[in-house]
């Protein structure tokens, strides 16, 4: 089996404004590969084309040009949907149904029969913490509860690939953490997750790789560590003799020493250990070691405001 979970080849989606506007390329020439087992963050400002891409992957809309494949099959083949699941942004469900009824409904769409069906529904209600509200109609659910039902709905078929469009939007911090834990849990089970999100700190914590989309064009792609490389570590030490400065300086950092107090701004490339070794060998005393990492937010803002569009 191929280790590619999602692949798009020169994918373009054009919305032609029938009466009013000019056509917009919501997604332009997108080439994407998501590997099995990874958590892939799909980022971009509002209107970047994230949801559009996801809808193409699910066959809700069709590509204007190019191709899209999901788990090795052309996107949108319902037979393939036994192995995938989708949480739309701001999900909305038949609100006259109770939590239990809606999950039962989705289980039926998969052809899951009794007694397996009730068993899974109960397990899922428990897993997303909705057991107590299970027999309340969805119209009485809060936003967070709706989101949890959405997540439960995603797990009903034990999918190989989960496509989540802003799974943590509008959730309180506790619910955030819950969902983040759930996502990590899924990763441990070997699932592939494709997540679109504006919660960059969440993405930074859970995702293996990210792509940043801007106006339909992919402007960044890579492993989080690589994209965020270029941070520095600040080392502060005391009682450092003057003769230690030169070898430290040769490691490439910014060094200042005054009255035995050393401040080093060292690039985060593994040389920090050497700095510490030298300081201690010279009889110095480490006071603090503080990483100043670039955050995904820095990268995001740089990328988008840098106006990179190609």
């Amino acid at each position: 089996m191929s280790d590619i979970a999602i692949k798009t080849v020169n994918l373009t989606k054009r919305y032609s404004g029938l009466w009013s506007k000019q056509p917009v390329d919501a997604v332009k020439n997108l080439n994407l590969e998501v590997h099995r087992g990874e958590i892939f963050g799909f980022l971009g400002p509002n209107g970047a084309g994230k949801t559009t891409t996801i809808k193409v992957l699910l066959g809700i809309i069709y590509p204007t040009e190019g191709e899209a494949y999901v788990l090795g099959q052309p996107a949108g083949d319902p037979k393939n949907h036994y192995k995938i699941s989708y949480l739309p942004e701001n999900p909305y469900f038949y609100d006259y149904m109770t939590g239990r009824e809606i999950l039962t409904f989705y289980a039926k769409l998969f052809g899951i029969g009794e007694p397996e069906r009730s068993k899974r529904v109960n397990e899922l209600l428990d897993r997303v913490g909705l057991s107590r509200a299970a027999d309340q109609p969805l119209r009485t659910y809060s936003k967070g509860m709706q989101q949890r039902i959405g997540l439960a709905q995603c797990l009903i078929n034990d999918p190989e690939l989960l496509i989540l469009d802003e799974p943590t939007a509008g959730l309180d911090p506790i619910a955030h953490i819950d969902i983040r834990d759930m996502i990590l849990d899924l990763r441990n089970q070997g699932k592939t997750l494709f997540i679109s999100s504006h919660q960059l700190s969440d993405v930074e914590r859970v995702c293996d790789r990210v792509a940043i989309l801007n106006r339909g064009v992919m402007v960044q792609l890579g492993r989080i560590e690589e994209l965020l490389a270029g941070g520095h570590v600040e080392v502060i030490a005391d009682k450092v003799p003057d003769n230690a400065v030169e070898p430290i300086r040769q490691l490439g950092g910014k060094v200042s020493l005054h009255d035995g107090r050393l401040i080093v701004e060292q690039p985060d490339n593994g040389s920090v250990d050497r700095v510490i070794d030298i300081v201690r060998a010279a009889g110095g005393h480490i006071i603090s070691v503080k990483p100043y990492r670039r955050t995904l937010e820095d990268l995001f803002v740089e990328t988008i405001q840098g106006g990179k569009t190609a």
Binding site: K55, I60, P78, I84, Y106
Partner: protein, 260 residues
């Protein structure tokens, strides 16, 4: 097939919770129930005719309103509320979605007709003292008429907005009720040129013939004898089934292309 029935079930569940549909049903039930009170206004066979044709009139009207109101929003609402996203991302073929919606609509109509039919039978039995099998036949005819109308509305709903749909399907229903007798009149009139006649003929053939189902006439005018009522019933219902099947296929083809 599982998925189709699950969608039909959800559609039914949602429809019977729609207040406007329930209000129409309740009003219809109430009117049918009190219709025997009209008996004193007509004597003998007149009373029977009055009560039965009045009851059928109410049932047909209710069925028509229910079919149109229920089905105009059926697909557009799913798209607007985005409930359709989670459904189509499951192993559900688009044709199954359309089919499920239609079965749900027919199931709802069946439920409504059952309610109205039972009340109608009770009311007419009380008033007339006898049970008339023509009522069953009539109910069946009107149920199929409403189901055909539901298929028309569903078909339009795959590509027009609910508001436009009200006018389109309302127009088709009216034309389908009137065209065949209009055509007859035209054909009997030698002064009508083919230029006028042929388009009318064409429309009569293309649009669903809703007039076939209007069984009131033979009941109101028993003089106008149908040679074989059962054959007529079977033929008309078969017409409905074939026409519905064509509409569903067309709906599926359009819905397949649709983006959401």
């Amino acid at each position: 097939m599982n998925a189709t029935f699950a969608i039909a079930g959800a559609t039914f569940g949602e429809a019977v919770r729609k207040r406007i549909l329930m209000v129409i049903l309740l009003i219809a039930l109430l009117i049918i129930l009190i219709s025997p009170a009209f008996e004193p206004f007509a004597a003998g066979r007149g009373a029977r005719t009055l009560i039965i044709s009045f009851g059928f009139g109410v049932i047909q009207l209710a069925g028509t309103f229910i079919a149109i109101i229920m089905c105009t929003g059926m697909i557009p609402t799913e798209i607007e509320r985005r409930t359709i996203y989670t459904i189509l991302s499951k192993p559900v073929q688009r044709y199954q979605f359309v089919l499920g919606k239609f079965f749900g609509a027919v199931g709802t109509l069946g439920f409504m007709y059952l309610m109205m039919g039972i009340v109608f039978l009770i009311a007419s039995r009380m008033a007339l003292g006898s049970f008339d099998p023509a009522i069953i036949r009539g109910l069946l005819m009107f149920f199929f008429q409403s189901s055909l109308l539901a298929a028309v509305v569903l078909f339009f709903s795959t590509f027009v907005s609910p508001l436009v749909n009200y006018f389109l399907s309302g127009g088709v229903f009216l034309m389908g009720n009137l065209l065949s007798s209009f055509l007859e009149t035209i054909q009997r009139n030698p002064e009508v040129t083919p230029l006028t006649r042929i388009p009318v003929q064409l429309l009569t053939v293309i649009l669903p013939n809703f007039a076939n189902f209007n069984v009131q006439n033979p009941i109101i005018n028993p003089e106008q004898v149908l040679t074989d009522e059962t054959a007529y019933l079977v033929q008309t219902l078969a017409y409905a089934v074939v026409y519905i099947a064509l509409l569903l296929v067309a709906s599926m083809l359009i819905f397949n292309q649709r983006e959401m």
